[in-house]
Amino acid sequence: MKNPLCCLVVCFCLGTIYVYLFKIPFWPYYIVGAVLIAIGAFMLNQRLGFDILFLAVIFISGALSLKNAYTISKADISRYAYNRNDTVYALKGFINSRPVIKDGGVSFIFRAEEVQFGNNSYKTCGDVFVYAKGQNNLSYGDILLLLGSLYKPYRLYKGKAFVAMRIKNNSALVALNKNKGSLFKKLAFYFKDKMELIFRQRLSPLAASINNAMILGEKKRIPAAVYDYMIKTGTVHIMVVSGFHVGVIAFVAGILLKILRIPRRIRYFGIVFCLIMYCFISGASTPAVRATVMSIFLIAGYFFQREPDIVNSLSLAALFIMVINPKDLFSISFQLSFISVFSITYLFPRLKLLFRLEKIRIKFLSGVLDSFLISLAAWVGTSGFIAYYFKIFSPVAVLANIFIVPIASLVILSGLSMLIVSVLLPPLGGAFAAFNEVSVFMLLTLNFFFSNLPFAYYFF
């Protein structure tokens, strides 16, 4: 088989779906898996027998991974929180996200390590979403003592934290130290703050919000109307950090390292470092992680002088994400991200053959038709999922993407160039900012135009 990783991912996913549909006990399946591994060790010489056993073990691994992910630790902080709870808890831990300042307060994800209530203190684990009023000098890695009541929000609107704590009293938050958290993440958040500042200083609020979303993965400040147009035209994917961004970062990092005359093999490590840093800067969302893992896999292919394979690298990215959090398989962003790349990889070459594009001699026309077919392939792959989740069907998406994706590329390129130039040659930053403003204006105008075309979209 040319793509063995693809086969492994399918088996892992089937195991995960099996647990999603049926409840299973952990230990009997674990024992079966262990026995199959033991038998597999004796069948290393038998190719077919080993392969069948190995795929069965991968299936069980997928099942057990999801089962384990669903099991909440007995020390988890969520065990202390109830929907209506007036008990006051003292929590010790550290800030595990980039604090967001909003409405005169700050919100962040707090990694709890110790909880105290009544007359006892307990070791704990898990994340708590904290909103503290009147605080604005907190940063990632700060060790804090918090006092307040824990509750479970009705809507799990804040990512992975199931428990929330509201600090209304200034003295109920005591900062102890600043030494927790990873240095890498601290560096990533530092860069993100600086980039946001450059966008704020150089661009208009609307252009800054679009750039923040497209380059830094911060979608909170995009006006609702703009988002609405993008959903209607099926181009909301341009707001997600994905393969194109990662490609641009890899290209720019490669060029800069080449100018510095760094040897080729060491350059690969530099590019990988930049990609991982960018992944953290952009919030490590599923599409960003997918694109980063795929790129690292392709770079590793060049490093070891092996032929890169897009399906294998896509499969590895899926396996990587699901091993870390198997629940991601059921998230919309995971499904859309992988299905779009897979359908482009699988359908585009076939559509190209079908329409006999290789016979077209005019390069420009061939390029335009290529873009059309890529857009069509992605639309065919994702439209079913979009219709199911968002209850919208947008035939205009195929046409809109041909025009909007290149302009979105201009926004990203000019935005990234503006960031680099603003640091290296600040006086030149204004030119890139002006170009970026024009690109954003064109992007929004086209979105407005396509969303107003007759039969552009149907809600059902």
Partner: protein, 109 residues
């Protein structure tokens, strides 16, 4: 089927064994209940001293408004200070429900 070489099969088996062991250890660690230990933070951590707090600080507690904070300060000045948190019940406008809600945020020193 998977077209692995003998060496690749050995490597794949090693990886899956490590993953399986990790999964088992992680699952067991989730079953261990935390043991209670004596209090290790300061009992008054984050609480407001009723005998020292100004109007603004008192108002930072949810449930105490401008009027009530003024009455608390008036009461403190008139009585020469609070001797315990329960003295708050003597302040005009302090209901039993409100007292239960705010008492954990306060201490007397």
């Amino acid at each position: 089927m998977l077209n692995f070489t003998y060496e690749e099969r050995k490597a794949a088996l090693a990886v899956i064994i490590i993953y399986f062991l990790g999964l088992g250890v992680n699952f067991i660690s989730k079953q261990v209940a935390p043991k209670a230990s004596p209090l290790c933070f300061n009992e008054n951590l984050g609480k407001i001293n009723l005998n020292a707090a100004d109007k603004k600080l008192l108002m930072s507690i949810s449930g105490i408004g401008e009027k009530l904070s003024r009455r608390i300060i008036d009461f403190r000045e008139a009585s020469g200070g609070f001797s315990c948190v329960e003295d708050l019940m003597s302040v005009k406008g302090m209901s039993q429900t409100k007292f239960i809600k705010i008492k954990d945020y306060l201490f007397v020193q």
